[in-house]
Symmetry: C2
Subunit: 392 residues, 2 copies
Amino acid sequence: MEPDRVLVRYGEIGLKSPGIRRHFENLLLKHIKVFLARKEIPYSKIIRERGRFFIPTSQPQKVAETASRVFGIVSSSPVWTVSANLEKIVALAGSLTPQLLCDGQKFAVRARRLKIHKFSSPEVATQVGAKIIEAANTTNQLVHVDLDNPDVEIHVEVRQKSAFIFTQIIKGPGGLPYGSQGVVLGLHSGGLDSPVAEWLMMKRGAKVIPLYFDAAAPVEKQFVDRAIKSAEILAEWMPEQNIELRIIPFYEILRRLQMPKYRKLTCILCKRMMYRIGAMVAAQEKARALVTGETLGQVASQTLTNLAILDSVVTVPIFRPLIGMDKTETMTLARRIGTYQVTSQDVGECFAVPSQPSIATTLADVHEAESQLPIEEMVLIAINNIKRVAVA
Amino acid sequence: MEPDRVLVRYGEIGLKSPGIRRHFENLLLKHIKVFLARKEIPYSKIIRERGRFFIPTSQPQKVAETASRVFGIVSSSPVWTVSANLEKIVALAGSLTPQLLCDGQKFAVRARRLKIHKFSSPEVATQVGAKIIEAANTTNQLVHVDLDNPDVEIHVEVRQKSAFIFTQIIKGPGGLPYGSQGVVLGLHSGGLDSPVAEWLMMKRGAKVIPLYFDAAAPVEKQFVDRAIKSAEILAEWMPEQNIELRIIPFYEILRRLQMPKYRKLTCILCKRMMYRIGAMVAAQEKARALVTGETLGQVASQTLTNLAILDSVVTVPIFRPLIGMDKTETMTLARRIGTYQVTSQDVGECFAVPSQPSIATTLADVHEAESQLPIEEMVLIAINNIKRVAVA
C-alpha cells in the first residue's frame, strides 16, 4: 500500500500577517503546480490547511520530491491517511509494518496530536509501537524499539479529523516564495560561487536574472558552456517559463582593459566594468540589486580595499550572500543545489589575469587607469550587444 | 592515561601562497596563545607542522576546546602519541581500550598513514581492531566492530615518525585568522541577527568594531544591557585585549525622526541615520565596511526597495552576511556562537515603530522628510557624544 497523499510544510511564511500570508500561500500553491506540471506528475488537487498543504496522488514520492524544490517549503512527506481514531491508527500501523520495517531493524514511534483528542501522544506511541512489534512477529520478523538510535522513525501525527503516518521527511529549501521580494540581477560567472549566491537570493524570495560576461577568446566555448549549464540548473528552481541567461560579449573589452602600464589593475578594472554594465542591465530589467558570489579574503580581488573600490562604481546595492562563508560551506550548498558538478569543472583560467594582481590599490590609481579609456562608450556598446540564451 | 597532546588542524589557509600561509600560521599561533593565556591553561609549547599544530599539555580537553575557538582553525583533537611502528600502535590501542570503550559498544577504526610506511591503512585498522576486541575480552567486556554505525570512532593517524590515536574531533569555526583582512564596523543592535553577522565577518578574517545605537528611553536599561552582553560574548571570540563597544546616544535623535507628517518613514529614516553615523565612525576607526544583520524580506524595513534607499545614503560598502539566510539558520548559528540565549530575550519593542511602516517608499519622499531636519548637525552631535564600554 502506497502513501495516499503528500503533506507539505512551510515555516516562516506562517508568521507573516494574514494578508501577506494568504498572498504567499497562493504563490506557493502556484509554484508547486508549475513544478508538478513541468514534470507531468499526476495529482488530483491541493488541499490547503493552516501551515500545510495536502496533495492526494498516486505518485507520492515524486510529488514530495518535487514540492521540496519550491522556495518557501520547509519539508514534505508522503503520508498514509486514516481517521483520527486511536484504534484505526494502530490498525493501520500494523498493516503497514511489513513495508515500514525489515527483520532486525530498530524503530522509534514519534507521535504528535492536537490537544482536542482524549488520548495522549505517549499513548499513541506506545500502542502503535506494540502493534508494530506484534505485526512483525506474525511474519516471524523481529523488530525492536530504540528511541535514541533507530534505523527507522515512524511518525504519527493526529490532527482534528485525520491522522497521518509517515517515515520520510524530505527537506525543502525554506525561505520565501520565489519572486515575492522583487527582482535582482545575478552576476553569473559560471564558477562555483555565483550560482550559490544567486540561489540564496532566490531562496529569500528574489527573482534572479542571471547575467554572464563572456570574456573567453572566441574559440574557447567551454567557459560559456559551463555558464549556460549552471544557469539551466538554477532555472530548474525557478517556477517560471522562458528563462533566459543574458550574455555580454566581453572579450574585446577585457583586452582593452589589459593596459601594460596598469597591468596589476586588470582584475579590478574588469570587475568594475562588470559592475557598471550589470547596473545598467539591472536598470533595464527593473532589478533592484546586483548579486555576486564574492567572499571576503578568498582571492586577491576580494580584499576589503578592493571590494570598496568595486562598490563605489555603482549606486545599486550589491548583495553578497557568501561574504561570510568558507569555500567548504559554499561547496556543500552547491551540492545541494545541483550546480557543484558543473561549476567545479576546471575550464582553464582567464587569459587576462596578471601574474601579480593588486590586492590594495587606491581609487585614485583606478581612476587614472580608467581615464585612459572611453569607459561610458564601452559600457554602451556592451549593453547594445547583449544576447539572450534560453535556459528553460 | 590522558591524551598527551592536542592536534590542531587548519584548512583553507594551507592553500594560500607560502608567504601568506606563513603570515597566517603566525597569526593562528598567536591567537591560540592569547586564548590559552586568557583561560590560564598550562601547555609547554606549540609545535608547527605542515597544515597542523601540536600542543603537548596536561589538560588536553581544555586546550582542544580553546584552540577550537580560534578563527582559521578547522578542528582539534586530544591525541595519544606513539612512534610510527605498527606493533607499538597496536599495543597502545590495546592499553587504551578500557577508557575508549564500554561493555557492549560498537566501534570502528579509521586509519590513515603516510605512504612511506610498509604497512597499509587497512592493515592498521584490522590489527588495531583485533587488539581492541582482545583487550576488551581480557576484562570480560564484549565490544564489536560496526563500520557503518559505530558508537565510537577510533582514529589512527600515522605520520613520518609518530602516530596518533584519538576519538574526538572538536569542530573549529574555520575561516581566516582574525584581523588578517582588515577592520569593519558592526552595526550591533543587540538582537539575534547582528552578532551573527558580525561573527561571520570575524570568521572571514575581519576585525569587527561593534557600534550600538542606544535609542531606548533613559529608564529602559534592558536594551543597552542586552547589547553589552552580546558584545561580551562576541569579544570572547576576539584574540585582542581591551575590546570596547561604541555606543551612540540615539534617543533624542529618534524622537526627532518621529515626524507626524512622515510617520510611516520613521524606521527607514532611523536606519539611514544609523548608516550615516556608522559610516562616520567607520572612517574614524579606519574600518572599511559596515556590517549589518539584514536579511531580505524578514521585516518591513528589509524589502529590496528599502535596502536600496539605505545603501544610497553612504559610500562605504555594506556587508550583509545574512542576506540569504532564514531565521532558523541564523538561530542555529547564534547557538553555536553563544549569543542565542541573550539575544533571543524579548526586551520590548522600540517606542518609535509606527503601526504601518512603509515597505515601498521612494528616495524623493525620504529626501523630503530629511530636508525638515538638520541631518548633518544631528550626525555630528551623535559622533561627538559617542561613549565606550569595555566588553573584554
